[in-house]
Each structure stands twice: as structure tokens, then as C-alpha cells.
Symmetry: C2
Subunit: 504 residues, 2 copies
Amino acid sequence: MQSTPTHTVDVAVIGAGTAGQSAFHQVKKCGKNVVIINAGSWTTTCVDAGCMPSKLLLAAAERAHLAHTADEFGVITQVQIDGKAVMQRVQRERARLASYVQATVDGWDDDQKISGTARIVGKNADDQTLLAVNDDIIAADTLIIATGSTPSVPDGWADILGDRLLTSDTVFDLPDLPKSLAVVGAGAIGLELAQAFSLLGVRVRLFNRDATLGSLSDDDINAAAIDSLATMVDMALNATIDTLTQTDNGVCVYYTDCDGNAQTFEAEYLLAAVGRHAELEKLGIDKLDIALDDKGYPKDLDPATGQIGKRPVFVAGDASGHFPLLHIANIEGTQAGMLAKDCPITADYIRDLPVPLSVVFCLPNIAQIGQTYAQLKDSDTDFVTGKVSFANQGRSRVMGVNQGALHIYAHRSDGKLLGASMVAPDGEYLAHILALAIMQRLSASELLTMPFYHPTIIEGMRTALRDIVKQCLALSDDEGTDTAAARAAETKNAALPNVNPMLR
Amino acid sequence: MQSTPTHTVDVAVIGAGTAGQSAFHQVKKCGKNVVIINAGSWTTTCVDAGCMPSKLLLAAAERAHLAHTADEFGVITQVQIDGKAVMQRVQRERARLASYVQATVDGWDDDQKISGTARIVGKNADDQTLLAVNDDIIAADTLIIATGSTPSVPDGWADILGDRLLTSDTVFDLPDLPKSLAVVGAGAIGLELAQAFSLLGVRVRLFNRDATLGSLSDDDINAAAIDSLATMVDMALNATIDTLTQTDNGVCVYYTDCDGNAQTFEAEYLLAAVGRHAELEKLGIDKLDIALDDKGYPKDLDPATGQIGKRPVFVAGDASGHFPLLHIANIEGTQAGMLAKDCPITADYIRDLPVPLSVVFCLPNIAQIGQTYAQLKDSDTDFVTGKVSFANQGRSRVMGVNQGALHIYAHRSDGKLLGASMVAPDGEYLAHILALAIMQRLSASELLTMPFYHPTIIEGMRTALRDIVKQCLALSDDEGTDTAAARAAETKNAALPNVNPMLR
């Protein structure tokens, strides 16, 4: 196929979400001729249907929850949820954030941005990729694909449920809280939304085919997460959905529960939160002879650079299928922009992604940092697990948020921190501290030399770190390899012993 | 003076608060003969009248505040404060914590602990210190003084106000919330309690002789703290208290306000929060020929070890006059225990105190980390200040806690982090992350390579770090010393640029 280009550019970026914008910005900075093409509104998944509206809904839910449970503090509250007002704040703040994105886009040169759906139509004789957009044909030396991802919906559900089917793309547009909601999928999105709606008085049931919450691979932490969340949201775990029907008032879920019994749950809507997928095939990527795997991602994608084989084609952000996280999309987009078209500051700029970090912002927060329990087991790493429960942790109990547990994994030989899993009050902060410590390659005893203010939830993390030190010391005794000097150094760094139970 | 000892020990510890307990525990661990003497109940300032009851009261206050301000989220609340229930929870949880301390003490050998007031009576011919306790005379080779501190009350106030005068020693014993309260002093204790009572519906006015809150020496941060706190507590700053009187219903404060006008404030009680002091002179420390300075602390105290001159006498915890903070008392007590009586693991165990960190747990939190603004100015350090306001910071606004500001100080030459001051939502966590970064001697650009999850309040900290990098880069341009390589390295480490306003 051959067409006469109406534009010729060094780099074409398809998609103006977080990754696409970062790539576009970076290519411009490198002084290259660039165009960015976007279908639909110029906003980001994060703002429109992702991190921001979910956190806005959770903020309302947390207020409701803290008010509902304030009696024990002598703060007697009567709470009424104004569902329309809840959704209006979500939508109003979302619109405000979207206006910031729009303002950024408005600042770009008109001839560098095109509204429309891009389709790859082939290559020309100069080996440039040809894109059809509206009535234009664009010839680009390098292509950056940043087309994002879309909520997955199991086959047939859309037909059966019609407008009773919600995804994260549509749920935040509801004019009012639903009366009841079936949520399918206990990943980050399903957990956050099921809990948020439940705490806001919606009758919710969260369905999951297994009993794993938020991808937790550490069974103890997963069990603690189930214990904590079960107090706030009704969950049907290890459930199989047999049939869905639309009813006069909504949907009916026919399912088999964990005990093998047939059950039903009727609700106004069903929210599918079973994952996200890219739709690269719709882009016409086959025209470049790029093969996709069975999940729809390019087989040849280099995870370090986002480049497809040796082709001048990069994939960044959710479309790469790596981590559907904003801070990763930003990094991948920027890097693709640097690598594209021999930007003068190239190879030097390829850097490792930061320490892995994922957070589910339910209450208490679920977080995984560094290597997961499953990864450590699979790699036969010799590690110890430092443990703490927050059930009676000092400050957590003071605040009335004493739920959850934290496991920190460390090399058995030297106590170097490897990773952590938790369901913990203010876990997002513990997660960042541990991520920084892992980035700095600290051991448990080294991290124990940081100040631990009293009374803080961070002191709970200290208990787990001390548990690691204790296990590492026990090992060196067992093996008879302990020397007085090594032990003294370890003890010295293990922060100070204390007899004050307040410090636990 | 000479007396015949009834007991002879290697080490006597006077005072069984946090520092004393840590010292006692450590001396025992070293295998020395030790006795600990305590006047009054065997608990700690932290549990009885310090960190814990104040945080318990603040927890109730925060619940009330979050409920009162939940309307904007669509969460419509009616809040009634049950003052008796508020104080009962504070007292119940405090008693629970005290029972843990008591259980620890119960585990000690009876012949190692003495209830009573110790008084130094002199030295014997063997150069041992002699202590009188009840009917006993104890001869000790080494003395560890851990007698803590007491709330200061200006001369005459106790006589004028009688039982209308409260301090942190008595305020948590109130059976009900007061109707109204004058709080004098805007340090940590005054700020926390004034705000807590105010948010719980008590009519409060907080008086301070100057306009500095929580020892903040950075004027901009102090101004931000005043702005934030003024929305939650009535403050009379730069006020001079002229006269206090007791009235039929409480107290009347006659004062001159910041404009020089005479004013009055009537309240049920007055809470004096004007500082704490040790009372070493009551111990008979003069019997050891130890001179005290005009604040009542030993002139010869070595701040690194707590030792008084070359004498076998150590001071640990609040009694040393350094930092009235639990984590410091724990360290000082343990260290004194190690140093006392040639414990076999001595000099090696002397270690620097951790990175300075202080937190006032008001809303938003006030915190100072590392070197303060005043210290940097006084030492003529060449530094830049990275700044961020939380007024419109993404996640803070989502949560409805968008108040405050953060300043991070860094060496102008290399961006190495030196310190920070803030009044910030969840500031206690930002403070710990910055303390860890300073401990690791990180520069702003190095800290920027940690993962910053989205959306978090920690992203606000990132804005301030980027501000530092920008200023350091600008400097190298100005001075013409920039090289392409240095600049590229700096840019590379400065984390990625982003065009997404959500990342601000």
C-alpha cells in the first residue's frame, strides 16, 4: 500500500494520555519535528477514569467511614449520604483536573496536534510509517504508540447487561450513587470501588474467582487483607459467576459460592473490574508486520526500552502491557521520546525503572514494594520475613485504625531489604519509606538507625525490621559463624533495645 | 557527710521513666549490680502526661473535624461531642498503656527496684555516691540521673489560679471537656492541646508572647502554619499577659494584644504550656559539687555521652535538657547504661543521635527535620530552598486537606539535602522520608529517583525537590562552570520531566 503523505515528520506520537504527552514533550525538547494524534477528548485515563476519580470517591467514603466509627472517641455523629453531591464533587474535581490537562494541550502548536483516530496504513519507499488520520496521511520516521488501555469485559456481558453494565470508564459518570452494585474483580480497581461504594451506603457485593486481593502473593498478608476488608465490604471470594441476567430494576448475578452452593445477588448495576487491555490490533499494527502475542501485545517488545525489535516503533504506557501506573507511563513515555530518532542524549538516558511499588488505596491500604513473596519463592532466594500486626500497634490503636499486618522480606545472610507486602493503616507512606530503603540497598539494621518518632505507625514498621535482625542474628549463632565483632556491629546498628512497651 | 550504706550497687538509676527504664535494662544486660529508684507511680511521662494522651485527644479532635468538614464530600453529618466520653477514652487507653509499663516493672526483681524519693547525701570514703531513699542508704559506684522534667509555671500563677490552673500533668485527668480554656504557649504541647480542645467544641484562645508556632524559624512556613491553624483555633499572638485573676467560674486573662490594645478573655481553666524544666537541685546534686547553669542543668554535661565532667554520673532523658522526646530519651538512657561502670561494650557504642526530627501533631502537622532555617543562616551555609505549597496540591485537595507548605534546604553547590520545615497534611510521614534521605546524605536529584506513586501527598515533596534541582542548575549556568556532562547527569537524576499537571 502506498499513499502520498500530506505531512512528513520525524516522530509521530499516537495517543495523548500520560505516556503520549510525556513522549511528545520529550521529542520536542530534542528539537525534532513531531506530531501527536489523539482520538476523543484530550485528557488522560488517570484524570478521566483512573487514579483521580477513584481517589475522589474514596475520599468521600473515608469521611463517611471515619464519621460512622467516631462514637468510640466520644464524637457522636449522624451521617447522611447525599449521593448526588458525592458524585458531583467527583465530577467537578475531575473536570477541574481535566481543564489543567486541556490547558497544557492548548499551549501546544496547532500544527503539532491532530484530533482524530490514527490508523497505520503501511510504509512508503523511504521506509517511513504512514498513518491515516481524518483526511491526512502522515509519514513518520519513528512511531511512538501510546494508545493506553481499555477496561476488559468478558464476552457477552455487554449484550446481556446493556446499560446496567459499568466499567471504570463509565461508573464515575453516574449522576447519583447506585442503590446496589455487584463488583466483579478484586484487583486494585475492584477493591477501591467496592469498598468506596460500600462505605457510602451502597449495598455492594464484591465477587472474585479466587481469594486473592490486590495481587497479594503472601498468604498471611492476603488473609489479613480479607479480615480487614470484610468488616467494610461484603465479599464473595472463590465464587464462580454462572449466569447474568438483566432484570426490571438492574441485574441478577447467579453464582456458585466458595462452598459450592448456588446463590443469587440482585443489584442496580454490575461493575466489571476484571483487568485492562490494549487494543493495538485496531491500530493496524499488522501493516508493519508486527506480530502480537495472545494477549494482544507485540511479541518483540524490549521491556527496557519499549522498542519493538529493531524497528523505529516504540510502545509506552499502558499500551505496553507492563504496569498500568501513571508514574511508569510517565517514565516510559519520556524514555521513548528520548530514544526516538537519535535524540542527542540517548543511550545514557536509559535507566532502570524505580523500585517496584504498587498501592491499592482501600482502607487499610494494600501495598507491595520491591520483590513480591511469589517472586522471592520462585527465585529460590534465601530470605527471612520480618512481621508485625497492626491490631494492637500503638499509634494505630490511638487513631482507631488498628487493622492489618506488614511483612518485610530480607536476605537471610545480611539482612538486606528485598521487598514487602502489607495491608496497613497509612500503608502508602510505609511503602514509600521501604521503597527508598530498598533503592538505597539498606539492610534492616541500617534502616533501624533512622529516627522513629513516637508515637507513629512507622514504629510498627520498626517492629518488623527488628524481627528481621533477630532472625539474622539467630542464624549466625546457629551456623557458628558469629564473631563478637560482627555481632556487636549488628547489635549496634539494630537501633536500641527498649523496655518501653510504648515503643512497640 | 557520711552514712553507712544498707545497699551497695555498681549502678543506681534514679527515675523510671523512658530514659531510666532504658538505662536500667541496659545495665542489667551488661551484668552489673543495679538498682532503680522511682518516686510516685511507675509510669512514663509519655504515657501519663505526654505523647500518648495528647495523641488520644487529638484523635478524637481529628474525627470531629473530619466529620464537621465532610459536607463538601456529600457526607452530611451532625456531630455532637460527648465530653465525658472523650475524656474517658483518653483515660481508658492511657490506663491500658500504663498497665503495659507496670507489667514490665513487675517483671523486674524486687530487690532491684525501690519506690521512693531519692536524695543525694554525699560520697563515702570509697568515692561512692550515697543516696537516701526511705530508710535506706544506697552506695553506688555510678549514678544515672533520669528524673525527667516537669511543666514550668510562671511565678505566682499557681497561687492566683489555684485549681483553675492546668498543665499537661493535670489536663488529661479532667472528667469532662471544659467549656472554655485559655492556653498559654504555642510550642508543641500548647498547639496540640489548643487545637484539639478547639476542634472538640471548647471555646479556646491560644496566647503566645511572640508569633512563632512550634519553634519554626522559617518565617514563610511559620506564616503558613498561622494561616492554617487560624482556621481551627483562635490565637492571640504577640500578646502580653498583664494580669490573671480567678473568677467565680474560672479565670480571666487580662492581656495586651498585638496591636497594643487591652483585652480580656474569660475561661473555665487556664492551661500553662510554657515549657518544661528538670528539677535537679531538688535531688541534692550540689552534694556532689556539681554546678548548675541558670536553667538548672549541669554546666559540665557532655552532650555526646550525658556524663557530667569526668564524674561517674550520667544524666539521660528530659533531665539532660536536650530534647524532651521519647525516642531521644530511649537512646540517651540506653547509652548511659552502656557507658556506666565500664560495661564491656562501651566506647564503640557511642553513636550520633539520629537526624534531628520534631513533629507537632496538630492539623496540618508541623515538622522540622535536620538543620533548621535558623541554624543554616547562623552557620552561613550556602543553601537553596525548594518550595511547595499544599494549597492546590493534587492528592491533598482530593482529600480536602490542602493547607500548608514545605521548604526543603539543600547545599547550593551539590543539592545535598540539609533540612526541611513544613506545615503539611500527613507531614509526619514526609518528615520521616526526608530524615531518611538526609541520613543517607542524598541530594535532591538522588531522592527524586525514588518512586513517587500517584496520586500522593508525597508528590508535593517532589515539587520542592525539583525546585532545588532547578536552582542548583541555574547556579551552575550563572557561574559558567556548567559542563554538558555534569548537566546531563543532573538532568538524568532529576527524575523525569512531565507535562502532566496531575503530577504536580
